[in-house]
Symmetry: C2
Subunit: 219 residues, 2 copies
């Protein structure tokens, strides 16, 4: 007997993809894969109606997203108070060039997720968040760096936001011109966008006896 238990997020009013709904996806696998591949999260919150958007490094743990920051930061304090936040992630995959300029587009994978959270209080939970973030950014580094001290754990706040509803929106493939425009004498296609790490730069204060570790060459 084969088991299919595809988990889906609820299609809520705030998360539903209204523009071009065929590009919308609600399954956890798609949503999580985009969140995990995104280097940054854009966290939106409102203070007395005034919206703010802060770019923040994130890591996912099941349905929870961890963010860390100074105890006094506005974002951290708001999440502590239980505010609802919007977390948006985007990966740009290509510039889509159509014959008609109004049909130019981007290929992308994006997620908009909503939730609220709380501060992590236990040192072991904070330590887990640091470890997951380190493993996400640089697999292998955790075993070769200085771990947080008690004073550092005390100084840094970590919040966990549970995703309540979320949607992904994905565009792939060639430009879509209107049928009559395909005859026009203009080039059309996609310029893929590629992101990678360049040549490593040693810290000027690095002890010259310390070689570049293998895990840094593989990131």
């Amino acid at each position: 007997m084969s088991e299919t238990c595809q988990q889906e997020f609820p299609k809520s009013e705030r998360s539903r993809v209204d523009r071009i709904p065929a590009r919308g996806r609600y399954d956890e696998e798609t949503v999580f894969s985009i969140i995990d591949a995104a280097p940054l999260c854009y966290v939106g919150f409102a203070v007395e109606g005034q919206p703010f958007v802060m770019p923040t490094i994130h890591v996912r743990d099941g349905k929870r997203l961890y963010f860390h920051g100074a105890n006094k930061s506005r974002l951290i304090q708001l999440i502590e108070l239980g505010a609802s936040v919007c977390m948006t992630f985007t990966l740009l995959d290509g510039l889509v060039v159509a014959r008609s300029v109004v049909h130019n587009s981007m290929n992308y994978r994006s997620v908009v997720a909503f939730g609220s959270g709380a501060k992590l209080e236990k040192d072991k939970d904070k330590m887990r968040a640091f470890r997951l973030l380190s493993d996400k950014l640089i697999p292998g580094r955790w075993e070769d760096c200085k771990h947080p001290t008690q004073a550092e754990l005390d100084m840094t706040a970590v919040v966990a936001v549970t995703i309540e509803d979320a949607s992904a929106k994905i565009r792939t493939g060639p430009p879509l011109d209107v049928e009559g425009d395909y005859e026009l004498p203009f080039w059309a296609g996609v310029a893929p966008i590629e992101t990678h790490y360049g040549e490593l730069v040693n810290d000027p204060r690095l002890d010259s006896a310390i070689p570049v570790p293998g895990y840094m060459e593989r990131i």
Copy 2:
């Protein structure tokens, strides 16, 4: 007589850089250069206290930012109604690897800008917005593509948001460990993040007699 008239945005409560203020910048030149280099804008708005963050393609015209979309999109409708929005831009320049994991960081250039706007009503203003966006994404393309028709102009809404206050925040350079940690036997440095266009992919329906234009090879 030399003239210096460096324009600065006001340091408002909502735009002031509170965390590590030494990384904050308020001059138009810095703010505009980051906005212009960013491929996407993350627009934050609030509907009855619920925050939303939408990734959107943008182009700048002086202190105004143009966004286009469907007439019915929530973001376009809100801006039409005069809502205050937050516009956030980030360029990731490097992953900063410190000896102590809590001092890992990113090198980045970011801007948080606030403003409100209105829909462009005149066709010539909408046409200008389309042209500026085309020139930003693909210099040279405007002269070699189909321009918006009257029906397309009517179908697409363009809004202009005027920046009222904004701040940039920039991190550059090597990791900053606490003094005692420089003796630790761990590698430290920066992995620069590089983004570029890959090999162009022709539209499968492209007339094979149409060569790749020079402006596409130069983007």
